[in-house]
C-alpha cells in the first residue's frame, strides 16, 4: 500500500523533474522543482522523519521556490530594463 503510494509519488516526481528541464518557461520549472521538494517531504513523513519533512517542506519547497522566483524576477527586470532580449 505504502509502496504503491511511493511509486505514484515517484513517477510524479520524475515527470516533474523532466518537465522542469523540458519546459521553455523558467517559472514553470521553478514550480516543478518546488513540487518535487514537496513530494520529497511527503515521502519523508512516510519514512518517519517528521522533522526533516517539516524542514524540507518549508525550506525546500517553500523558501527555495520563493527565492528562485524573486531572483528570476530580479534578473528579468534587469534584462528588460537594459533592453535585452526576453529568454
Amino acid at each position: 500500500m505504502i509502496n504503491i503510494a511511493i511509486i505514484i509519488l515517484g513517477i510524479v516526481m520524475i515527470f516533474s523533474a523532466i518537465y522542469a528541464f523540458r519546459t521553455k518557461k523558467i517559472i514553470n520549472s521553478i514550480i516543478a522543482s518546488g513540487a518535487i521538494s514537496l513530494i520529497v517531504s511527503v515521502i519523508f513523513i512516510i519514512l518517519s522523519a517528521p522533522d526533516v519533512a517539516m524542514t524540507e517542506a518549508s525550506i525546500g519547497s517553500g523558501l527555495t521556490t520563493i527565492v528562485f522566483l524573486f531572483a528570476l524576477g530580479k534578473a528579468r527586470s534587469k534584462i528588460d530594463s537594459k533592453g535585452g532580449k526576453d529568454d
Partner: protein, 125 residues
C-alpha cells in the same frame, strides 16, 4: 526503504542530467536543487527501519526500550543540516546569476544571452 533510495538516486541522476544539459543558468541551479533533494531522500531512506516510529519519545514509549521502537535519528539530523546548507548555496547561486546579469554587456552587438552558461567563457586556457 530501498524504493525511496532508488527514487533518491533517480533524482540525483536527473539533477546531474539537468546540470549537464541545460544552458540556462536558472535551470542549472534547478538541476542542482533537484540533485540536492535526491541526496536528502537517499540519506533519510537509509535511516529508515520498517515499522518503526519517528525518533520522538512520546510518553507511551518508555525510555528504556525506545531504541527498539524508533528509526535511526542520525540521518534526520544530518539532513536538517544539509537542507539548510543547500538553501544557502542555492540562494548564493541565484545571487550570482543576478550579478552576472547585472554585469552583462547589453550592447546591441552583443548577441550573447545573459542567462546562458555559454556566455561566460572569457576565462580559459
Amino acid at each position: 526503504m530501498i524504493l525511496t533510495t532508488v527514487l533518491g538516486f533517480i533524482l540525483i541522476i536527473l539533477g546531474i542530467w539537468g546540470m549537464l544539459t541545460q544552458k540556462n543558468l536558472f535551470k542549472m541551479v534547478i538541476g542542482f536543487s533537484i540533485l540536492d533533494s535526491g541526496i536528502h531522500l537517499v540519506i533519510v531512506s537509509l535511516g529508515y527501519i520498517k515499522d518503526k516510529t519517528a525518533p520522538i519519545i512520546d510518553s507511551d514509549i518508555l525510555a528504556n526500550n525506545a531504541s527498539s521502537q524508533v528509526v535511526d535519528p542520525i540521518p534526520s539530523a544530518l539532513v536538517l543540516t544539509a537542507i539548510v546548507i543547500g538553501l544557502a548555496v542555492t540562494a548564493l547561486m541565484l545571487t550570482y546569476i543576478i550579478q552576472l546579469v547585472n554585469t552583462h554587456n547589453f550592447d546591441s552587438k552583443n548577441m550573447k544571452d545573459p542567462l546562458s552558461i555559454t556566455s561566460y567563457e572569457e576565462l580559459k586556457w
